[in-house]
């Protein structure tokens, strides 16, 4: 489809927006800017999960602007699945002083703007985010989403090797990237950003 058609379509979607203050999400994104995103959830069911913390880092060209990152702690309405606490380390009392999810989402949308989103297993995060954004936005996030494990898969898969290990540690090891303590959403977002920058050299893979 042609660029102008695409543009018109985006415009029309923004007009259908429940809350026009978020119209900027449909702006034309700056070239070479992305946002790496990671969330910690209260459980692993996308229909139930609540967000406990969100981290987002902007990527500008070759640089990952870690120093201006966004990191939000959210107070969930329900219980945190004890099994997930072991993974992310966030207990009920840790998120006690977190913000309301509506405020957090507004801040997040402001931070990401129209930039494409980057993440590792972003699908799950986006599923939860879109579920929660529905009442606020009326529609799902219009931002393009780049799944770094998919980029990795596309580059690694061959007829001789149809199975690709998509674990983050394997990806980091293969790409010769440094590992950081995991399940801190900021570190996870940083790792995804590094994987993205390293794999971006295949221009065909980037929307």
């Amino acid at each position: 489809m042609s660029w102008s058609y695409w543009h018109r379509w985006r415009r029309s979607r923004s007009l259908a927006l429940a809350n026009p203050q978020f119209a900027y999400l449909w702006d034309e994104p700056c070239t070479d800017e992305y946002v790496s995103l990671d969330c910690e959830m209260s459980c692993l069911d996308p229909k139930q999960a609540e967000i406990l913390s969100i981290a987002a880092i902007r990527i500008k060209g070759a640089r990952i602007i870690v120093s201006e990152h966004l990191k939000l702690l959210v107070k969930p309405a329900g219980q945190i699945d004890p099994a997930s606490i072991a993974v992310h380390g966030l207990r009920a009392q840790d998120v006690q002083n977190g913000m309301a999810i509506e405020t957090a989402l507004a801040e997040l949308l402001h931070f990401i703007g129209p930039r494409p989103l980057v993440g590792y297993y972003l699908e799950f995060d986006l599923a939860v985010l879109n579920r929660l954004l529905k009442p606020l936005l009326g529609v799902a996030l219009p931002n393009a989403a780049i799944e770094v494990s998919a980029l990795f898969y596309d580059q690694m898969v061959t007829a001789h090797r149809p199975d690709v290990d998509l674990s983050l540690s394997h990806i980091l090891q293969t790409l010769n990237l440094p590992d950081l303590p995991r399940h801190d959403p900021l570190n996870d977002a940083l790792l995804a950003a590094m994987v993205f920058l390293k794999l971006r050299c295949q221009p065909s893979l980037i929307p």
């Binding site: 070759a62 990952i64 870690v66 010769n176 440094p178 950081l180 940083l190 390293k198």
Partner: protein, 597 residues
């Protein structure tokens, strides 16, 4: 944020926790694929770049930067990139925002110094941490104990005191030890006793008040006050190793160090070579104390050089018959001549004999001189540059002939012998003999370009132990983990300066004076001269530090440095100084057109 940024590396290890937090908050990450440009020369620099992973190459240079190297730190001050950088491999960088780095360095001069472009200013700002050392009894000048037999008379004691310039004598009795002092002698006289037949043991004071060599000097002072005595017996283990007089105690306090004037006085008082040993020992102590008190290496070398010159002079005077000194001139050569030797490495000395002068004892005196120096802890010169070797004990005409040989064919052996000679310093005897020969040598060499090139060539002999990647190369020593800073660092500088000095007729043989004179004459730029001097001083400082460690373990003094044993800061500075050495080597090579040889 949880980062893997390593604050234990220089220069970040000079930061306190709050400063670390500020830096952490300003960390960004960047990724460059192999071959891409990280920065272009002249570009605005908005961050300090540190390699997280990968390898970065500086364009036009053979410099590479690896993990945790700081890139182009000098450009941070003026905010403009000084060089173009490429990612040689896929590279991840930490970016630390410039405004934050500048703010942190405002409050932390040690951290700030890292970004100074010139090595001299850097070293000056980083300085040496001055340790406050408590002075020890062993650091004070101690008098040699004078022993008398129990059967001696008061007159014997008086004579010994006179001969030994001592104010007290010690007597070992079956029941212990006693001391007889000048004031006891006065009392004997006042009492009208006959000193010739008065037995000394009647007048001894006992028991002796003793301190240990490694006791605090303050403790010694307390003892003197408590017992109202003016001297203490100093013990090393159970043995008496000296006598501490009140005067020396006070002067040790005021200097907070061993007293160099005390040592020269000690040298002057010596009546036989063995008595000089005490001065040699005090000098070693002086070096340790002054070094640990943070005295600048060049001053230390100068001071020690001065003391040692007196020692050599005194030793030769004691060995030679008095009339001989009118006809000969004793020289120290090499690093001793330049006044840059601090620890006793090996001896380099020579003797000039007036034409036609002969003395039957001359050879024996020279042999004894070298032997005695060996007992003092100066190992013999492996190249036999010693007065006991007839080649280095020649008449004026003999040396002139020698110089003609040196300058006619610049074989590597001739070059090194002449280089040794060029650093000669007269120590005692007829200095005019030396002046004449120096003039003779200078006459036809200053403008002999071909000879000068051959002379400068050894500068190329040992490359600085730093590789194209700006990493230190450690391939020396028994386990190949060390680097030889004499060969790769000090020698190229010293010899390069010697060559320039020879060409431009610089009389001084001390390297720092040569640098200064060459700068004044416009043959070295002032800034580079400063860098060179500071680099040389830093290298000599490392050499001394390693030498003292070896000495403490009774190992021979070598010039091997284990990079792993250095602090991070020392390692960074060593890299900086070796780069200055490399630059100087290139300058010499270009100046003397060594590439054409």
């Amino acid at each position: 944020m949880t980062t893997s940024f390593d604050f234990n590396r220089a220069p970040f290890n000079s930061l306190n926790t709050a400063e670390c937090d500020r830096i952490t908050a300003a960390l960004d990450v960047a990724y460059y694929s192999a071959g891409s440009v990280i920065q272009q020369e002249g570009e605005v620099v908005d961050a300090l770049l540190v390699v997280m992973k990968g390898l970065v190459r500086e364009a036009g240079e053979a410099s590479f930067y690896g993990c945790f190297d700081v890139l182009d730190s000098k450009s941070l001050l003026n905010g403009k990139a000084c060089c173009t950088l490429h990612a040689h491999e896929d590279t991840l960088l930490w970016y630390i925002r410039r405004d934050v780095v500048m703010k942190v360095s405002d409050g932390n001069s040690q951290f700030a110094a890292f970004f100074y472009a010139d090595v001299a200013r850097k070293l000056a700002a980083l300085g040496r941490p001055v340790q406050e050392l408590q002075p020890r009894v062993g650091d004070a000048v101690l008098h040699m104990p004078c022993w008398l037999a129990e059967s001696a008379t008061v007159m014997d004691a008086a004579r010994l005191m006179k001969r030994a310039h001592s104010r007290a004598v010690l007597v070992r009795e079956t029941s212990g030890m006693g001391i007889f002092t000048q004031s006891d002698l006065r009392n004997v006289v006042v009492d009208g006793l006959d000193a010739n037949c008065e037995a000394i043991y009647r007048h001894l004071k006992r028991p002796l008040i003793c301190v240990k060599c490694d006791d605090d000097l303050h403790h010694a002072m307390l003892l003197m006050m408590r017992h109202s005595v003016q001297r203490l017996i100093v013990l090393e283990g159970d043995e008496v190793c000296g006598v501490l007089e009140q005067v020396e105690l006070m002067s040790a306090f005021f200097n907070n160090t061993n007293n160099p004037r005390g040592i020269t006085a000690q040298i002057g008082r010596a009546n036989c070579p063995d008595e000089l040993m005490a001065a040699v020992k005090s000098t070693q102590q002086l070096i340790r104390t002054l070094h640990s008190n943070g005295m600048k290496i060049t001053l230390l070398a100068e001071l020690v050089g001065e003391i040692r010159q007196r020692l050599f002079s005194r030793l030769f005077t004691l060995l030679a018959p008095p009339e001989m000194l009118q006809h000969v001139c004793l020289l120290v050569l090499g690093s001793e001549g330049r006044g840059e030797q601090i620890l006793n490495t090996d001896q380099d000395n020579a003797l000039i004999i007036e034409d036609g002068y002969q003395h039957p004892d001359l050879e024996r005196v020279c042999e004894q001189f070298n032997q005695q120096l060996i007992t003092f802890g100066y190992p013999p010169c492996p190249g036999l540059v010693m007065v006991s070797n007839p080649q280095w004990r020649q008449s004026v005409t003999g040396y002139k002939r020698q110089m003609n040989i040196w300058s006619s064919s610049a074989s590597s052996e001739n070059v090194m012998q002449m280089a040794i000679w060029l650093d000669a310093r007269p120590v005692c005897g007829q200095v005019a003999l030396f002046e004449g020969l120096r003039h003779y040598l200078q006459q036809d060499l200053g403008d002999n370009a071909a000879f000068l090139s051959r002379f400068a060539l050894p500068v190329e002999q040992f490359a600085p132990p730093i590789n194209l990647f700006s990493r230190l190369i450690a391939t020396s020593g028994p386990d190949k983990h060390a680097l030889d800073i004499k060969k790769g660092g000090i020698f190229p500088v010293v010899h390069g300066l010697r060559s320039l000095g020879l060409e431009y007729g610089v009389d001084d043989c001390n390297s720092y004076q040569r640098i200064q004179r060459l700068s004044e004459m416009g043959h070295l730029s002032e800034g580079f001269g400063l860098d060179l001097a500071e680099s040389l001083a830093f290298l000599q400082g490392l050499q001394l530090k390693a030498g003292l460690v070896n000495q403490a373990m009774d190992k021979p003094v070598d010039h091997l440095i284990d990079p792993a044993a250095l602090t991070t800061l020392e390692r960074e500075l060593l890299k900086d100084t070796l780069l200055v050495v490399r630059q100087f080597r290139q300058l010499i090579s270009h100046h003397f057109k060594l590439g054409m040889l």
